[in-house]
Symmetry: C2
Subunit: 339 residues, 2 copies
DNA sequence: TGCCACATCTCCAACGTTGTACTGTGACTC
DNA sequence: GAGTCACAGTACAACGTTGGAGATGTGGCA
């Protein structure tokens, strides 16, 4: 059987509560007593029972990270960053996959497991602005991640999507490219990564006085590599002319790149291409992929810190919005070459 | 405040224990009573308090998955498969990253969080056969994953490394390639993925009567893409001649492939290459990468099922070994082309 | 009719921890 | 020397749930 406080207390010759006080850094304890208790803890190999602590104090030291899909490199890297940030705060992380499906996302949020975590990092694709009410009624402290809900009922950590997309587009324009695909559009979406990044694309064109041509805004439903490849195949078949691609994420950029190369097009010679997210793979593709570093570390650390603040002070300030600093990373896929 | 069983019981006009019995599918309950209780649960939106349940029953419904690194595609896909398998058993998964560091791996295993999970899936890189004793004393039900510990103190799920590596090598040999790099060696390692896969490589050569040339066994320390690229760069600089690469995982294969192409070598024309793991990316690289599908789904499902068995019957059978069925996936990187 | 078996439900205690309230002991103040 | 105060530690109850034993009712059978 596992060692409990009772046994530690007996070994140290103090009451159970004193053991508890030592563990929780309660100040009024004589150094000698503290030492005796700590020695007993070491001796017996005592580990606190987190279920009991959770029951009594209402805190479990576990937070939940709800994401669409770990197989997606962006979310895997986000999860990694979150877990490292959480480790610093001594928090464990339960990861839940939603598949990006709205109903699943809401189900998880209202499921019994929410009662066993201190807080949630909620990174959604399906749930949107119109679901604000369904999210507001969740009693668990929450931080929203991503671009689906702004000015919602909880703290929100995101990146400057519009500005970043504008910078990426401007980067291609500065190379002299003029027929740029906006690659990854979701029709009718205003908010959300796709909508915001399209807006950035449009702004960059506008700033240069170039008219927006909707036929260059290519729809890509899911943002997986295979979808990018498929969409690019269709574009090539259609005979559409272009000399640059502003892809809304790295995965579809890589998928598109592969199809372009198969078709005998040179990158960046014939087509310059830039992605979005700075996933690890962009550093090793052929050619290496220019992209936007969304500030993942900063996002993860800020989100965990904000959540921790909410957990500790359950009556904190009104919902906050935080936008991480992005960075354009120019690599081979947008090298300056004779057109 | 959250709804408790007490309130449900009051609403349904039964005792708390009856509510508990309904929830836990205790058989002797009149259908009418069950209905009333379920109705009250729905009505009030009751959710069980998992901390309390964990304290009382010793079960939390959470398992821990300890892996080296989520950023590594292999482990991300493993984690995904494990989480889907766990969801079927209504288990939540806490993921812990060890960085593949032996001390961290052991620390996590002996940490306080082990007391809050019902079981552990332990996928290690640092801990090895000689640490068996340190693992045996952990009271938590455990299933070992990977190739570091065989015939250990716990159930073990793995793949047929030697046979799979032999098949991959034989695949290259069957194309007429004779100077094959064993790419990914860890010097002095006998057990472990690197050791076993090297052995498979050697067996394949042996079966064809080809002598083993140690200079073709290339060391790659960490199995990340960048390490594969770097190692291949060294190989090319050294002037070593070869016409095939049997890479010990997909990431280093992809890294190597990129360097080979930069150097103007054609794949599979000049160099045929096969990887190991069948990560998603192998389907989208240029060329697509032949590889070994280790049977990830089967591994994940078997591991979770075995762990669940251990959790439910704490006095089960002696440790079991399970080896998943692998499959060779031939893609473009080993197409038949004139040499 | 009396007794037993069974189904159905309830009562009590306990899981290991922490919050609240309290006791005892000196030291210091006036 | 009485009152006050800070410190060090303790006792008790409670968090929400479930295991086990017990209570109650119901029907069957001798």
């Amino acid at each position: 059987m596992a060692v409990t406080m009772r046994e530690v207390a007996a070994a140290a010759g103090v009451s159970i509560k004193t053991v508890s006080n030592v563990i929780n850094d309660y100040p009024a304890i004589r150094p000698a007593t503290r030492e005796r208790v700590l020695a007993a803890i070491r001796e017996l190999g005592y580990q606190p029972n987190l279920s009991a602590r959770g029951l009594r104090s209402g805190r479990t030291g576990v937070i939940s990270l709800i994401i669409p899909d770990l197989k997606n490199a962006y979310f895997a890297e986000l999860a990694d960053a979150v877990m490292r940030a959480a480790a610093k705060e001594r928090l464990a992380v339960i990861i839940e996959q939603s598949g990006g499906d709205r109903d699943v996302e809401l189900e998880i949020l209202h499921g019994p497991r929410m009662r066993m975590v201190d807080g949630v990092l909620y990174s959604v694709l399906g749930v949107g602005q119109e679901d604000t009410a369904l999210i507001a009624d969740v009693p668990t402290p929450m931080v929203l991640l991503g671009e689906r809900i702004f000015n919602g009922p909880a703290d929100h950590v995101t990146m400057r999507n519009v500005e970043a997309a504008q910078a990426a587009t401007e980067h291609l324009l500065s190379l002299g490219r003029r027929r740029l695909l906006a690659f990854g559009r979701h029709p009718h979406e205003k908010v959300g990564s796709a909508g915001l990044r399209l807006k950035g694309y449009q702004r960059a064109l506008e700033a240069r006085g170039i008219p927006y041509d909707e036929s260059l805004a290519i729809e890509v439903r899911r943002w997986h590599r295979s979808d990018g490849a498929e969409a690019m195949r269709k574009v090539l078949t259609s005979g559409l002319e272009f000399d640059g691609v502003m892809a809304f994420n790295d995965s579809i950029a890589l998928g598109a790149m592969r199809v372009l190369q198969e078709a005998g097009l040179r990158i960046p010679g014939d087509v310059a291409i830039i992605g979005f997210d700075d996933i690890d793979e962009t550093r090793y593709s052929l050619p290496t992929l220019s992209t936007i570093d969304p500030g993942r570390e900063e996002i993860a650390e800020t989100a965990v810190r904000m959540l921790q603040e909410r957990i500790k002070a359950d009556d904190g300030p009104p919902p906050r919005e935080f936008e991480a600093v992005f960075r354009l990373v120019a690599r081979e896929s947008t090298d300056t070459v004779p057109h």
